[in-house]
Amino acid sequence: MNPILQEKNNFTKESLKKQFRLSEFLAEKIISSVAFLSITIIVLIFFFVFKESLPIFNFGKADAVKTEINADSKPETYGETFTEELKPETYGSEPITQEELKPETYGEVTAEPAVTSTEDATELGHENNEGADKTWSTFFTTEWVPVSEHPRFGLLGLLIGTLKVTLIAMGIAGPLAVLAALYTSCFASKRVKETIKPIIEMLAAFPSVVIGFFALMVLATFFQDLFGYDSRLNAFIGGVAMALAAIPIIYTISEDALSAVPKTFSEASLALGASKWQTAFFVILPAATPGIFAALLLGVGRVFGETMIALMATGNAALLSSNPFESVRTFAATIGAEMAETVFGETHYSVLFFIGSLLFIFSFALNAIAEFYVKGKLIKKFQGK
């Protein structure tokens, strides 16, 4: 037995060495390089969305010249194509991290450890009040007046609007979807489960423009008649509509998490005399917490970046109030509504792209937390720590 095996092994090794097949090699290389495309896309998205927002990081015209030099000294991060896109005055070529901003010491910036936070940059912006630094100084105000003689880009109003809608939407979607998931995975019979799940997941197939339209035409009127508030479109309507968009996501992921809890957990609990609902709430639900947390995070991500519903159902006025029945304007809706009217290279255009990069970073971070937190926790939990 042994010698035969050995001989076979030798044979295989030799033949492997001799036979280099070009087609095999090519196939593997092509397939793996195509697979890397998804990584490339993520990098490109970050790069290009951020790139278009760069002009707002330019402080004053004199500095623009210096930053040019700076850009030349770092060609790797850019590629020459970058300079083609240059739009004259408002252009600043800062590399991807904004930490490197340091207006006054620009010439030697490469030699210095550049640590300047965004807030510092804003203060410095006040000092040489010229060009795009005005944009920065208005960022932390609440007024959003992008098209005027003195444009003001107060992001705070938009941020509060976005948070308000997100809070309302998650307040509705979170409990509803998690409870529904709990019923589906713990209490429903197999037959019921197999009907409920596809139906609720069908909600995910509703395009957001359809949900937005429904909110605009039906929900808005319905709730106005019910509560009798003034503005027909408001944060509450937007939140309700976005909850509809978030429910299928939260439901599906939490249901998966609940079903993934090992059967031994519930069997042990039932064997100790706990009833079915006690098992569900005090054993299965806590065990699946990381998964449910991830589901909620992804739900937040969906609501935060939802554009069409926000555009159609929130009223789109950046008002500052804690009243849920007032109009709000969200980040995503602002991009959606105003991008088409801006001129390429203008400050307004760059600010919108800057908001876009904020949204991208935020959703990226949420996804990363959801992924790594959950994986770490769940594996620890189910494999006996």
């Binding site: 998804s38 993520i42 790139k51 509803l176 529904a180 909600l203 197939a205 395009p207 006690q278 555009l311």
Partner: protein, 314 residues
């Protein structure tokens, strides 16, 4: 010991159920209400849109152009625009999605860091807000690629460097890529290991095995992915807001560098920027109905195919 056990078991549990279960029933009831509420909302939306849209919904509505400043007529160009969009999108996304899925299931090693990175990016792509894809399409396809092409080949004349159906489709294909990857991957995983091993044992190379054994077995998975992607692409509006969708066009797009009308965009425009929203209400509901029928039926088909794959795998 034995005796007491016998005594307890039936009585104890039945008593407990009768006594304590009010709370239990309440708790279970609450979860049940959540399920019923979600399902009710879903059917209310469906019902209202079907009810309001049905009076204008007809063959004529689908097959005619809008007239009188979009207050009358049909949605034919929007339908065709959506159709071209999803076809071009699929042509771009399906091969890439399939190949990525093949890499992940066939070539990637178990603990490979690269494969993990690919998986992570696919999942990130799935959660990036759709408006970001729109921004990317504008920044990359239009301002970078399109303007670059114009500069090098057209002598700076604006042709590709503006919103058109090609850029919109490519933007949409990025958005739908994860949908395809996930479905194909799932289908590839259902192909039994033995089939691959048999093929390899007969002397076929890895690529031959993939080409002749694995891929034919996953055709239905690729189909599911494509259908789901089409359904998603037909309904998304945010990515095409500024990459190619047009408010109104008198003619159908003739080439890939033309702008196009789109069902979802049509609904958005009609319901928010139309001069007379009340008057066009039936048209809006009918358009929404068409879009909903389109996406829901596509999804239904995908679900059916998918459940068949799963049953086969068992």
């Amino acid at each position: 010991m034995k005796k007491s056990k016998k005594e307890i078991t039936p009585d104890f549990f039945s008593n407990q159920k009768k006594g304590v279960d009010i709370k239990g029933k309440l708790v279970v009831g609450i979860t049940q209400v959540a399920v019923l509420l979600i399902i009710a909302i879903l059917f209310v939306i469906l019902g209202i849109i079907v009810y309001e849209g049905r009076e204008r919904f007809s063959w004529e509505f689908i097959s005619s152009f809008p007239t009188d400043g979009m207050t009358k007529g049909g949605i034919f160009p929007a339908l065709i625009g959506t159709f071209i969009l999803v076809v071009v999108m699929s042509i771009a996304a399906v091969p890439f999605g399939t190949i990525t899925a093949i890499y992940l299931t066939e070539y990637a090693k178990e603990n490979s860091k690269i494969a993990a990175a690919v998986r992570f990016s696919v999942r990130t792509l799935a959660v990036v807000p759709s408006i970001i894809f729109g921004l990317f399409g504008l920044g990359f396809f239009i301002q970078f690629l399109g303007a670059g092409i114009d500069k090098t080949f057209n002598g700076g004349e604006l042709h590709w460097g503006q919103p058109n159906i090609l850029w919109a489709s490519l933007t949409m294909s990025l958005l739908t890529l994860p949908v395809i990857i996930v479905s194909v991957e799932e289908a590839l995983k259902t192909i039994p290991r033995e089939l691959r091993e048999a093929s390899l044992a007969l002397g076929a190379t890895k690529w031959q095995t993939i080409k002749n054994v694995v891929l034919p077995g996953s055709v239905s998975g690729i189909m599911t992915g494509t259908i789901l992607a089409v359904s998603r692409g037909a309904g998304e509006v945010a990515p095409i807001l500024f990459t190619g969708a047009a408010y109104y066009l008198a003619t159908l797009p003739e080439s890939l560098s033309d702008q196009f009308m789109n069902l979802g965009y049509h609904i958005y425009i009609m319901s928010t920027q139309s001069s007379d929203v009340e008057k066009t209400m039936p048209i809006q509901f009918a358009t929404t109905l068409v879009l909903l029928i389109l996406t829901l039926s596509l999804n239904l088909v995908a679900v059916i195919i998918r459940s068949r794959i799963r049953r086969k795998a068992k």
